[in-house]
């Protein structure tokens, strides 16, 4: 019993979940006149058996294996024709799946391409927009430390000088002693 528990404890956690797939049907074809079908596939294990089933109307289902174009992203390229039907399926290496988007019964159906496909790919890192540096007016900027210290020093020195002047200057007295004297005029 203990040995079984140890084995279970030591064994890696089994992946029992099928892959998760995200897909957005295209509306525009690339310059070469192809549909580029992108599938975002996420799984805890390696994926396996990814396949795109497509058919023109009328026609039998054909299969191609999408290529990995970025981590977690698969791409399939098929001629851009209106009425193209397709669905996608994938497993993981543990056999979990298949996960399908669309199905043979209810496939994606593409209309005639409109416009040209953008060069931007969904797996591309989002473009970092560098914000323009905010230019603060001079009166909102912090003055240089040297200037602040100089101003503070000037204020302090002025205070010391003013205080010294007030301490040392002759100030009017509040009380006096009056001494009456006479005034004699002599030639």
């Amino acid at each position: 019993m203990v040995i079984l528990a140890a084995i279970l404890w030591a064994a890696p956690a089994a992946d029992v979940n099928p892959p998760r797939v995200g897909h957005e049907p295209p509306k525009a074809a690339d310059r070469q006149g192809n549909w580029r079908l992108w599938f975002e596939v996420r799984d805890e294990s390696q994926i396996f058996g990814a396949a795109l089933y497509f058919a023109t109307d009328p026609g039998a289902w054909q299969t191609i294996e999408p290529e990995q174009v970025a981590p977690g992203w698969l791409e399939a390229v098929v001629p851009a024709t209106a009425g193209l039907r397709y669905f996608f399926e994938v497993f993981d290496e543990h056999g979990n799946g298949p996960t399908r988007v669309g199905s043979s019964e209810v496939p994606f159906v593409l209309q005639a391409p409109a416009g040209e496909l953008s060069a931007v790919r969904p797996w591309d890192a989002p473009k970092v927009i560098v914000a323009e540096p905010v230019i603060r007016p001079w009166w909102l900027k912090r003055p240089p430390a040297k200037l602040v210290y100089a101003a503070l020093g000037t204020v302090a020195l002025s205070g010391v000088i003013y205080g010294s002047y007030n301490l040392l200057r002759d100030r009017p007295v509040s009380k006096v002693t009056l001494i009456p004297v006479g005034k004699d005029s002599q030639p």
Binding site: D170, R171, P172, V173, S174, K175, V176, T177, L178, I179, P180, V181, G182, K183, D184, S185, Q186, P187
Partner: protein
């Protein structure tokens, strides 16, 4: 040497100098013949803004009135009156006044001289000093029109009795 002589000469030919003496010269009336004893007269200094008069001493040998009046508040101009008086039956009889003034607005000395003018008032005496107000009854206690000094020294008159 010559410039020094010139300076001395110019100084000697200048205007009359003002000499400040110690004390106030004693007025002549205190030396006159009087039917009553003027040697009993006292002197005091009244100062505007101060209720109490400041007693002064009369030195008959030196012919001066002198003294000091302490604790006088500075900051304004002070009018003063030097009063000569006698006491009759406990009543103060002002015989004469001399006035003066001193500006204590910005004084920086704690001892200040106040110059007393030589003019003597025996009738038009000042009651209130600031504002100056003549009070005829001050130097004529009985109000008979004859000033105290005259009545005090008169042979038959009584300064406290209107006749």
């Amino acid at each position: 040497m010559r410039p020094l002589v010139l300076v001395l000469l110019v100084a000697a030919c200048g205007e009359s100098q003002t000499v400040v003496n110690q004390g106030v010269p004693l007025p002549d009336f205190l030396m006159l013949d009087c039917n009553r004893d003027l040697s009993e007269a006292g002197a005091r200094l009244r100062i505007s803004g101060h209720a109490a008069a400041c007693p002064l001493s009369i030195d008959r040998d030196q012919q001066t009135v002198s003294g000091e009046c302490a604790q006088i508040s500075a900051g304004v101009e002070r009018k003063v009156v030097l009063e000569y008086y006698v006491l009759i039956d406990g009543e103060l009889l002002v015989l004469a006044q001399q006035s003066g003034s001193v500006d204590l607005t910005e004084t920086q000395l704690d001892r200040q001289t106040v110059t007393i003018a030589p003019a003597l008032a025996t009738r038009r005496c000042l009651g209130s000093l600031h504002p100056a107000e003549i009070n005829f009854s001050l130097c004529d206690n009985d109000g008979d029109g004859m000033e105290n000094l005259v009545e005090y020294c008169h042979e038959t008159r009584e300064p406290l009795i209107a006749e």
